[in-house]
Symmetry: C2
Subunit: 446 residues, 2 copies
């Protein structure tokens, strides 16, 4: 009899692992369980769906259940929820949500791709119906509907991370009155050093958002958000406080957990139980610069770790070298990106740091389309090893972070970065790319 792989979760990680396993091992019997109504969609696209930039929610779906069934011979079962895993018996308890019946499914190998869920702070009134996290495509569709309705005038976004900023912009574009409440003194404070985060404040306010930094939410009630400064009107509250790994099923089954409750995996994406794998937002990963285990929920990481899991499930051998902490977004016209460690993260990891923040332009300063950009480079004292970079600026600024991300993987020093043969023509860059200008200034301080 063919070996059976059961996949729990039919989104990016689960289905990428399943497809890769199928490619490696045509004989596998693959069953994928998804409690929702869609497979493999771009969760990162939800803010753009809500903003009205995407024609149809179906556009966010990379592959439909039928495509998986026909092209990859994967038995995708929609509206089927895995409710328990028995690691000894090697079975999954499954609830068919449509026919309301429960059954057990045996597995030889199991792939856990249960994703993450928006963090809901333990505050009075948090369970109110108008308080939403951004998780599934169905959530996105519902919010798009609400955004379109004129009644939805007051939107409060709690938190100022990537999703918070992207959702705030989406609602502003529909004409809503958006207030952002952030306990920290500046946006994206976990991602950016204070001097770089400060540059974003102007961009957020310029968007017409009533941004309240340094103001904590104290509770919710129907139509209101309470903060230290008093109540705010809120027809809708969007939670942008980040996500936590959805690892309850794994934990209850007895799989070992790691950082912040994520599922512990080794470099092959294997969990503590042989033949059981995890990848994507539910799993732990590794930071190549801090050399620490971390939890990071990003589409890129989900796809990469799932591919590694799939290769190993299919009988191949692959390891995931880890991440360097790259992230990017756009707030109206202002682009933001970061990679590596922030100064605080670097010091927490034990590095003594030097850094430099340079003001420059996205393209040759004498061209009419040149826009300001700021680059901060962080390096290790004495060795000059690049540890991190942060960028805020106009069009074309942020994607330059990839140069730094690549340099981090290669453990380059700032001197190495200065000598890189980066592309230059006036409509693309200054002669010394801004990334190199920042590296040069730091190199002078090492």
């Amino acid at each position: 009899m063919a070996e059976r792989l059961v996949v729990v979760g039919g989104d990016a990680a689960g289905m990428a692992a399943a497809s890769q396993a199928r490619r490696r091992d045509p004989s596998l019997d693959i069953v994928a369980l998804e409690r929702g109504t869609r497979t493999s969609y771009s969760a990162c696209g939800i803010p753009y769906l809500v903003a009205g930039d995407v024609e149809s929610p179906d556009d966010l779906v990379a592959r439909t259940p039928d495509e998986f069934r026909q092209e990859h011979r994967i038995d995708v079962r929609m509206r089927h929820e895995a409710t328990a895993i028995d690691l000894d018996a090697r079975t999954v308890e499954v609830r068919d949500l449509v026919h309301e019946r429960t059954f057990r499914l045996g597995f030889d190998q199991l792939m856990v791709g249960t994703g993450a869920r928006p963090i809901r702070p333990d505050l009075p009134g948090i369970d109110g119906p108008h308080i939403r996290g951004v998780q599934t495509l169905d959530d996105g569709c519902r919010m798009l509907g609400e955004a379109r309705e004129l009644e939805c005038r007051d939107v409060v976004v709690v938190g100022s991370g990537f999703i918070g900023l992207e959702m705030a912009e989406a609602f502003v574009r529909w004409g809503a009155k958006v207030t952002m409440v952030e306990a920290n003194e500046r946006p994206m404070s976990r991602q950016l050093d204070p001097d770089v985060g400060d540059r974003l404040v102007t961009a957020v306010r310029g968007l017409g958002i009533d941004a309240r930094f340094g103001e904590a939410v104290e509770g919710f009630e129907e139509g209101l958000v309470h903060t230290a400064s008093g109540p705010l009107r809120a027809d809708l509250v969007v939670l942008g406080l980040g996500v936590a790994p959805e690892a309850t099923l794994a934990e209850e089954a007895g799989l070992e957990l790691g950082t912040r409750g994520s599922i512990r995996v080794n470099r092959r994406q294997a969990t503590s139980t042989p033949g059981v794998w995890a990848a994507g937002d539910c799993a732990e990963t590794y930071h190549r610069v801090s050399q620490r285990r971390i939890h990071i929920a990003l589409g890129t990481v989900a796809n990469k770790t799932a591919r590694i899991a799939g290769v190993n499930i299919g009988g191949g051998y692959a390891t995931f070298p880890g991440v360097v902490g790259t992230a990017i977004t756009k707030v109206c016209g202002t682009e933001v990106a970061r990679t590596g460690l922030s100064t605080e993260e670097a010091e927490r990891a034990g590095f003594a740091t030097v850094s430099a923040t340079v003001e420059t332009t996205t393209i040759a300063g004498y061209l009419p389309d040149a826009q300001p950009m700021v680059v901060k480079a962080i390096a290790e004292q004495v060795t000059g090893r690049l540890l991190g970079m942060q960028i805020v600026g106009g069009s074309g600024a942020a994607k330059r972070i990839d140069t730094a991300a690549t340099a981090l993987s290669a453990e380059m020093t700032v001197d190495d970065v200065v000598e890189l043969d980066l592309s230059y023509a006036p409509p693309f860059s200054s002669t010394w790319d801004p990334v190199q200008v920042a590296a040069r200034v730091v190199a002078g301080k090492v």
Copy 2:
């Protein structure tokens, strides 16, 4: 008495070396000789000056002679041409072009930054007054004047390299009727593989340029360019056949020359004579991937090699690791970039290659601003080492070449590139960056 540094050539290379030397050694007596009327300008900006994008030619000047005099204590002598170098006597013969007198200037160290000159093919009528290379800012100013005049209706651009394409677009934007004559079958044939170069043909023609590929120029006469297919009307002819190192002075002095007549230098930018240095477009450089000495005339390389020369002149120690062959430009809305070796270059250098060309989009395909882009990745068979990459596509496509340029410096394999933690959000990229998509496909062929 203070040691004297004489700098021949007051453009990017000469003045960057002089400034760096000054920073390292405050006691140096520095004299810079420039036969023209401007120092340190962006020659790469000339096509944009001619196109009308730059307000004033002075905007292209990074630093004026007075700034060098006052801020760096460099004795800049404008309209002074070095006419001979006596390496034994350690003197330079100088012609003061304004006062029409000649004198000798002794040096302890000499920095040669004589640049490059446009290639003028040995064809009948090549010396006609309407046949122009793009070299100095004064050339640029003159062409801007001509472009503005309605009389200048027919412009023929000979060659289709970077400068040829940029100048063709500049004249098209002023309403000229532009014909491009290129002996090769496609544009940028030395830079791009045929399948990638083909993508550019449409862009060039879409610009309204009468592009004649596979058609060689046979000669010129007043108002005409002769090709195998007959004469073309030409009020102005722009040469876009690349540049050759301007090393006559160095050669006559007895300095050793290298590839294509460029001045031979070691990794510290030292020439064959102690205390005599060269950098920028006149000097030889080194290709980190092919491991061959090459001549390459680019602003980035000029600035980098000049900085190295300046550090060494000032008593420091620095070496230039070489280039990886990165270049970028834009033809109307189409961006083009390349790095590393083309397939032909790689095979000539002895590599057995595999490659893949992928069609993708600049940003998430479901967003309205997504534009097509093509990425070709070239790798070494067996080892999978990345050897080169080429990109053609819409806005945001080409600057991604820097990821490949950085990966080449680190001698990464295509598998390493696939695992890079590159930035992703829907307005910036597909989940797998196009660079990684190409690397993945090649990795499958290694």
